[in-house]
Every structure is written in structure tokens, then in C-alpha cells.
């Protein structure tokens, strides 16, 4: 059974249609990448899976169960966790408190304060600092750590490398490689194609709300990716 199945999903913002009958399947333990230009609907796709947006038609199945009528906070309890675009750490809370809030639902698993600090050693000395005072890269590491604290089966990463220094992007991608071995499936959205192709098993390119190309990174030609990305 696939961990996530998206079937013919249409999403609207008012009269504007953001996604046009999107379908794809993610297998357990995969790292699934969604690439595409600004406004292609990638973030909308993640928000819909997380439960922040509702599809007008179509279905989303998580571990075989339809989740369309389940609200976002309950999906966390089922094992879907999202790192939102722009990090969205809780600025007035300390690093430690941000992580504790991430574990609010109390799902059991490998991830706890200790293992998150082990994964992102840079956070450990910052434990008592207010999250709002961290650098962008530190905040991104915190946002990922916070999402892991709910011990998700599926983690949704939205634009994790946007606006960050190369050294921290490298660290975040190293961490990403470790997750599948701990039983976490990843759905990552990126504009930065080069990095994400090196860590993913499967890639789907979004273009104006539709999937323009899909396959294993090794089987895709870079010219085809460029064409699918820019719609040429």
C-alpha cells in the first residue's frame, strides 16, 4: 500500500484554479521531489496534503484512508507533518520550546529533543535562545526539527533551501538523507532543482497547476526537465 495517493485533485482559490486534476503516488520510504517555477502550484499541493487547503474535487489517501474531511491538526496525529514555506518558527518561544511544541500531539517514535539535537547539532547551543533571533538557516533547521518531533510517517518540506547559505543547505540535505532510514517518507518541494535531484527517488515537475513531467531522476534528461520546468 502506498503511503500517500493523490487522485485527480482540483484546488481553487476563489475563482482561480491552482491545481488541475493532479494525481501521483508516494511509496513508503521514498523521497519524492516536486519541482517547478514560482506559482506552479507546488506549495498549494503541500498545503492541501497537510489539510490547510481543501480540494474542490478529487481525493487524497494517506495509508489507504481518505483524509479529505480530516482537519490539519488531526492529520498531524495521523503522521503527516509539514515544514511550511518561510519556516514559520514561533518567534517568541525559545528553540527548546519550539521543539516541545512540535511534540504537542505526543506521537511516539524515534524523534525526541535528544535525537533532534543530535541531527542538528547547531541547535543545541541555541536551546534557550528566542527562535525569532536565529539566522535563517538556524530557523530552517529548527523548523525541520520541530516537524520531526511529531514523529511523522510523512514529512512535507516546503522550499527548505530558499534564501539560505550554501553551507546550511548542505547540512539540511545531509539530514534529509538520514530520514528514510528512520522510517520517514519525504515529500519535498523545491525551486532549486540541482540539489533536490541528488537526494530524491522520484521527481514530479509542476507547471501551471499540472504535472508536466514525472519519473526517477536518473531516467530523466536534463533538457526534458528544463522544458517541463519552464514550459518550453
Amino acid at each position: 500500500m502506498s503511503i500517500l495517493e493523490v487522485r485527480d485533485v482540483d484546488v481553487f482559490y476563489g475563482d482561480f484554479q491552482a491545481l488541475f486534476s493532479i494525481s501521483f503516488t508516494i511509496e513508503e520510504g521514498q523521497t519524492f521531489a516536486v519541482i517547478g517555477a514560482n506559482g506552479a502550484g507546488k506549495s498549494t499541493m503541500l498545503r492541501t496534503i497537510a489539510g490547510l487547503s481543501r480540494p474542490r474535487s478529487g481525493q487524497i489517501l494517506f495509508e489507504g484512508e481518505p483524509v479529505d474531511h480530516i482537519s490539519a491538526h488531526k492529520r498531524v496525529a495521523m503522521g503527516i507533518s509539514m515544514v511550511p514555506e518561510g519556516r514559520r518558527v514561533f518567534p517568541s518561544l525559545s528553540v527548546n520550546e519550539n521543539l516541545q511544541v512540535g511534540g504537542y500531539g505526543g506521537r511516539k517514535g524515534d524523534w525526541n529533543l535528544e535525537s533532534v539535537y543530535e541531527l542538528f547539532a547547531l541547535l543545541k547551543p541555541l536551546a534557550k535562545r528566542q527562535a525569532g533571533s536565529l539566522s535563517g538557516g538556524e530557523q530552517q533547521a529548527l523548523a525541520i526539527g520541530r516537524a520531526l518531533m511529531s514523529n511523522p510517517r510523512l514529512v512535507l518540506l516546503d522550499e527548505v533551501s530558499l534564501g539560505l547559505a550554501p553551507v546550511i543547505i548542505k547540512r539540511i540535505y545531509e539530514a534529509m538523507v538520514e530520514l528514510p532510514s528512520r522510517g520517514t517518507t519525504i515529500l519535498v518541494v523545491e525551486q532549486d532543482v540541482q540539489h533536490v535531484l541528488t537526494v530524491s527517488d522520484h521527481v514530479a515537475c509542476f507547471l501551471e497547476g499540472r504535472i508536466s513531467l514525472e519519473g526517477a531522476p536518473a531516467e530523466l534528461k536534463s533538457d526534458d526537465i528544463t522544458a517541463a520546468y519552464f514550459g518550453m
Binding site: S81, V89, G102
Partner: protein, 290 residues
């Protein structure tokens, strides 16, 4: 010496104002809800206590404790059943709805209890005082109210800083949607915040009713004092409400001493406006309830 006496009374009065203000600050901090019915809900609590004493023949202590529990539950139901639906896109909707709620409460109380002034009999403690020297006397009752206010504010701050639910309140205050992504049911958290807010304003309403007489329209004045205390202290700061309450209490009692008792409220308002002009964000403004 007389001025010192008056100043002490002003500080202690500030404790009562802080009790009215802290619940207002909490719900604004957690869910950006301006509750215009806050003062009337406090007076409603005083009438509930009065009703329990006269009709159910409970003693003041039991009636007050039961009222606090009732107001806690009423706060949860009010938020979950009504006010949650006003939150979201438009900040003015909760203001209009709570304004309407204030009018409903006032008129229901008028129908049920008439416009007569009422009082809660607090017993010996309301007249007893500690004499410190020739002219300085501190009333036991105002002192007790002040201590209760400090204890409630300290307790609330500890709850926000140290408990899982307190962290959830602060996280929701920082970023509602991100909190939802952490598995928090915002509607439940908002309802708990309103429940806590109304439990505290019940204490405030009962404390006021023992101190002085009250009638169904007393709520609006206390709402204004509470707003002034919140804004002087700085929006979002829990301890700031105590500072704001004390400054307001001092301004009123010292003003009354200087110009006559009719000037008390005006002096409080003028000091509030001056502080608003000089420090528009108050003394301890935080963007959140931390």
C-alpha cells in the same frame, strides 16, 4: 502622611483593575479578540454570586467558588459556540459581536435584578484595617484583593511559561496556522483561553461587588479601566496589566485627593492619555503573551 495613605490605597485599587484587565489581555494576546463584553461578564459573575447567595442560600465563599467554575465553563462554551465563528478574516466582527453581547447581558440583568444597586456582604474583613502609625491605615480587604491579583497574575505567567498548554497558548499567539500544523486544535485552545479569562474576571467582578455597590450597568466602566490598564502596561504583557492597573489606581486616588472626589476618573483618563501619547505601546509591550 495623608498623601501616603491615599497612594497606598491607589496601589491596592490597582490590583482590582489588574484583575479586570488580565483576562482581557490574555484573550487579545492568544487570539487577537477584543472582548467588549469583558466588564459586563465580570458584573454578570457578581450577580450570579448574589443569586446563589439569596436563592440557593450558599455562603459567600462557596457561592464565589461555584461562580468561578460556572464562568470558566461559560467562557469555553461562549468561545466554542459563538466567538470562534467571528474570528478570521475581519478584525471588527468579534468587536461587533461582543458589543452586542454586552448589551444583551446588561439588559438581561436589568430584567432579572432591576436597576437597583446591589452589594455582596463580605463580613468583618471589609472594615478591618492594619494601623501603621498615626495616620497610615491599610484596609485588610483591599490588601487581600491586591494579593489575590498578584497571585493570579503570577500563576497565569507560570502557566504560560512552564506548562504544555501554556506553550500552546503562546505558539498559537505567535502563528495560528503553524500551531495548527503542530497538531493543535486552535478552536479548543481559544476556548480554553476564554474560559481562563472569564474565570479571572469572575474573581474581579466578585471582588468589586464586595468592595462597592454594583448594578447591571457597572460593567462598562470596568471595561474602560481594564482597557486603560492593558494599554498602559503594554499589549500582550501579563505583568504589565498589574503595572497599568496600579498607575491607573494611583492616578485616580491621588487626583481625587488633589482636586476632590469628582475628579478621580477624569484624572485616571488624563494620565492614560498622556501615557498613550508618550509611550503608545505601553511600558512592557510584547508582541505576544510571553
Amino acid at each position: 502622611m495623608n498623601w501616603v495613605n491615599v497612594a497606598v490605597q491607589g496601589i491596592l485599587l490597582g490590583g482590582l483593575y489588574a484583575l479586570f484587565a488580565v483576562g482581557l489581555a490574555l484573550v487579545f494576546g492568544v487570539m487577537r479578540l477584543v472582548n467588549l463584553a469583558h466588564g459586563d461578564l465580570g458584573i454578570l459573575a457578581a450577580f450570579v454570586t448574589l443569586g446563589l447567595i439569596t436563592h440557593a442560600h450558599l455562603g459567600l465563599t462557596w457561592a464565589a467558588l461555584l461562580t468561578i467554575v460556572v464562568m470558566f465553563c461559560a467562557g469555553y462554551v461562549l468561545q466554542r459556540g459563538l466567538l470562534n465563528f467571528t474570528l478570521g478574516t475581519d478584525d471588527t466582527r468579534p468587536i461587533v459581536v461582543t458589543f452586542g453581547l454586552a448589551i444583551i447581558i446588561q439588559n438581561t440583568l436589568l430584567l432579572a435584578f432591576s436597576a437597583d444597586e446591589q452589594g455582596l456582604e463580605g463580613g468583618r474583613i471589609t472594615t478591618a484595617s492594619i494601623h501603621l502609625g498615626h495616620q497610615l491605615a491599610i484596609g485588610w480587604y483591599p490588601l487581600l484583593v491586591f494579593i489575590v491579583a498578584v497571585a493570579i497574575i503570577a500563576g497565569l505567567q507560570l502557566f504560560l511559561n512552564r506548562t504544555k498548554m501554556g506553550r500552546a497558548f503562546r505558539a498559537t499567539s505567535d502563528d495560528r496556522e503553524a500551531a495548527e500544523l503542530m497538531g493543535m486544535n486552535n478552536r479548543h485552545i481559544y476556548s480554553l483561553a476564554m474560559a481562563v479569562s472569564l474565570a479571572i474576571v469572575a474573581v474581579a467582578g466578585i471582588a468589586l461587588a464586595i468592595r462597592t455597590t454594583f448594578d447591571p450597568t457597572s460593567g462598562s466602566f470596568n471595561l474602560i479601566f481594564a482597557f486603560e490598564a492593558v494599554i498602559i502596561g503594554g499589549i500582550g504583557s501579563i505583568w504589565g496589566t498589574l503595572v497599568g492597573g496600579v498607575i491607573l489606581g494611583l492616578a485616580q486616588t491621588l487626583g481625587a485627593q488633589a482636586f476632590g472626589s469628582g475628579w478621580a476618573i477624569l484624572c485616571g483618563d488624563v494620565v492614560f492619555l498622556v501615557i498613550l501619547a508618550l509611550r503608545p505601546r505601553g511600558f512592557f509591550a510584547r508582541t505576544v503573551t510571553a
